[in-house]
Structures are given as C-alpha cells and as structure tokens.
Amino acid sequence: MPTMTLTQTLVMGLLQCVAVLILIFVMVPLLTFAERKVIGYIQVRLGATRTAGGLVGITGALNRGMWAMGKLPVLSILRGLPVFIADILKLILKEDIIPAKAERSVFTLAPIISVMAAFGVFSAIAFFPGVLFTFPAKFPIVGGLPFMGFISDVNVGVLYILGLSSVGVYGIVLGAWASNSKYPLLGGLRSAAQIISYEVPLTLSLLTPVVLAGSLNFKDLSIRLSTGADMHWLGAIPLFVGFLVYTTCGFAETNRTPFDLPEAETELVAGFHTEYSGMKFGFFYLAEYTNMIVVSCFASAFFLGGYYLLPFGLQRLIPASVPFLGQPSILFFFLKVFAILFLFLWVRATLPRYRYDQLMDVGWKWLIPLTLVNLFVAGLIRYAF
C-alpha cells in the first residue's frame, strides 16, 4: 500500500464515510419495507401492497397480462416498495413540533446524539479486510489509491464500538426527560435501566471471542476466529453459546421485540419518542435501525465467520486453495448480516413482549451467569490447548 499524505488520507476517509452513509440510507428504508413484507407474510397477510410499479410500460403490460390470466402479478412481491419514498418525504416535510413545556435545547440535542452514536460506530467496522477497488490514476487527489473495506483500522476497535454504542443511551434518556411529559419519562427510565442491564451480558459475551482469539481489532479478530488460527476446534462451543447470548442482548440493546418495553404502545403510547415529530422522530427511527445493522455486523463478524463462509471457526474444513468458498468475500459478510436482520424481523413477528420483571430476571439471573460460565469455559479452552 502506498503511503498517503494527510490530505489524501482525509479525502479518502471522507469518501469512505460517504460510502457508509449511502449504505445506511439504502439499507434502512429497505429494511422497513422488508419488515412490512416479512411480518406480513409470517402473519399470513400480504403486507404493503397499495403502491405498485404502475400499470403502464413493460412491467405494466406484464402485470395486466398476468391479472387477465387470473394470476397474481409477478411484481406483486415488490408492490409497496415505493412506500418508503413516501415515508421519507413525510418525515422530512412534516411540521416539526416542539412542545411548549419542553426543554428546547436538550429536546433538539437528543436525536442528534442518538444518530451520531449509531453512525460513528461504523468507523471501526470492517466490511472487508482488504482492498475493495483501486481508484484509476486520472482522479485528482485519490488517483491510484486503494479503497479499503474499512474506514479505520483501530487496534481497540471492539472497545471503541462498545463505548460509542453505550453513548447512544443518552439520546433516549435525554429525549425522554426533555419532553417534559409522563409517558416519555417512564419510557426513558425503562430504556436506560434495560440498556444498562443488558450491556453487562452483551460485553461479557463479546469477551468470549476476544479471549479465544486474543485480539481487540475488529478485522483481525474476525479473521482469526473464522479461520480458526490459534484456536482449538472446541472453541466453537463457547462461540455458539456466546452467539445466542449476544443476539438476545442485541435485541434488548436495540429495543426490539420481545424487549421493546421502552416503547410499549399498550402502556406508554410510544415511549420516549411520544412527543417527537417530523425528522426528529425520523432520527430516532434511523438510529434504531442503524443499531440493528450494527448488531448484525458484530454477530456476523465475531460469531458467524465474518468474511469467510463457515461460522464458529469451522472454515478450516475448507482449504484456502478452494477458489471462491475458501476465500474471504464481502458477499459472505453481508449474507450473514442480512440473515440476522431477517432474524430480527422473524422474532418481532413471532414473540410477544416480556413483562418488566421477566425482562430483568432474564438479564440478571440467567444471561449474566450463563456468560460468566461461558467465558470461563472459553478461558479453559484457551489455556488448555
């Protein structure tokens, strides 16, 4: 890799940030569409169907032809896709109301903190451990430079991501407090208690891969775990338990069902964002879905094999000489990310909400002891082999 001047580093960093932003702004609306459709089909409904591709043009002719034959049009599965454009327009154009008794500055700051914490995490996430493509020499500043699959290669990337995502709770708590209203405050308190409680097993379950592979660098850790370098094959057992605990805690951290008590609509109207409207609400929404993507990236990289095909360090079964399956690929990474995002939707469509005392019981009485035992087993495996 050629050494870069500071200007080149800055421009390259900005370009990568823009790429990640585009990724987020493409994935989040698609995720909301997928949520409508997937949950719809699971509950034997059709989901969003009202906006179609139109009845004119080539697709229109196809649709009308199918309809005339008495069959469901081919494109019906994509019907409702344009809804997300309407969604975004609605969020941006809606009147932005700040309640009269709200604390104005904190009320505005809260969604910003949420979104910044959620987006900032991506600077340490490696989507691919190497060069994605090289800029042609004719580009002005960045010509001839490689475009890496990660923004920065942080030595303590895992700690950075954990730290920054723990800052995200301020957005929820401050937004709840600044609304100066009963329901948001209750939702915010619940949320803070829940996130602080579940942060403990979440961090402990992430320590299992760290202990097994001996690194805190996101990309390094992921590669070591999936190729199984310096790791005994028994390590797959604590990794699997860690994966289960991590995904459970990930659901709680992102306030998704069955842990969505902070926004339990039957009890709290909408929880901490009851008083928010317009794009301020949009930011909370964006942060929640971005956090889902972050949790999926983590689970994909540390437990499901990351850039390699097989999860839990089983990649050693496939020798590196196999052309496609034995090599790291960004496709494998995103395949697993999408699989876990689907799991999020699946669980939301299937499970009812926990009661509050059950939530705390699961966190403190089951998950924390389980992760501690798991961590001990991982340490034993690391020490013995």
């Binding site: 500071l6 800055l10 730290g163 723990s166």
Partner: protein, 183 residues
Amino acid sequence: MEHLLETIGRNMFAIFGVMALCGAAFMVAAKSAVHSVLGFLFTMLCVSGCFLALDAEFIGMAQILVYAGGIVVLFLFVVMLVELSKFKEKGVFQLQSRYAVVAVLVGAAAFVAAFKNVIFGASSPEALILRPELAKGLDVAQQNAQAVSRGLFSDYLLPFEILSVILLVALVGAVVLAKTERV
C-alpha cells in the same frame, strides 16, 4: 492544506484539552442539573480524545466505556429522578459557592505543586515503559492494549487486584447503607 492538517494533528492534545475545559466550565456554570451532566459528558469524551492524542488508545476507550457509558448515565438517572428545582428555590447550592471557590483554589494549587515536573518538565521519550522481556514480540507504540495488559497482569497484578477489592468494598458499603436507610 497539508501544512494545516499537520499543524492540527500535532496540536490535537491541546485542542481536546481546551474543549474539555470548556465542557467543565459549562458544567459548573449551567443552571439546570441536566445541562451540567451534559457538560460533564462532553468533558469526559474530550478527555478520552486527549488520551487518544497521546496514543493511549486503550485508556481512551476505557474512559468512554466506563465514564461516558456507565457513570455519567447513572448521574443523569439520579438527576432526572430528583426534583432539583425545589433545592434551587431554597438556595442550598448558593450557600456553598464561597467554600467551593476556596476548595477549588487550594486543590488547584496542590495539584500544580505536586505535578509541576510532569506538566512543565520534558516529556518522556517513550509512550509506555515495559520490561524488555515482557515487551518481546510486541510493537509497544502500536499495540497499546496488549502492552497494558501484559504489564497489568504480570508486574502490577497485586496492586490491580487490591484496587478491585477496594471497589468491591465500596460497592458492598453502598448496598449496606441503602438497605439500612430503607428499613
């Protein structure tokens, strides 16, 4: 452009330091307790930036994880729950400001006296000093977290464990105090 970036990069510690001081000043001066907590949060994040500017990435991240992610959230929790406006009307906080100024001045003087060599003296040539046999196979300047862990779990194991016992004692004490008050 290149020159400007280089200057900024060299003065990162000063930039974060000044920002941390601004946050601290805001924390002291803010009228509302929640605003104070926000100022404190900003200060903590900037202090972690200071650590990062000194290439101490592990301590910087631990700073965010422990203070910004844990302790300040608990502060915020308490501040939100306790109705502080009642205390403000009684003027509880204003009574203490005279003593507070004196305490701060004495504390600052003691701090400067104790650390004047560290602050104004020449800086250490190495970021972290580790015994050579411990630092084997390790690029100390780059792999900060590994270096800290090797030092912590070999040379400084006993002080480290004693510190954790002290924290445990504080925790148990807090539980005991809270229990007796409730009964």
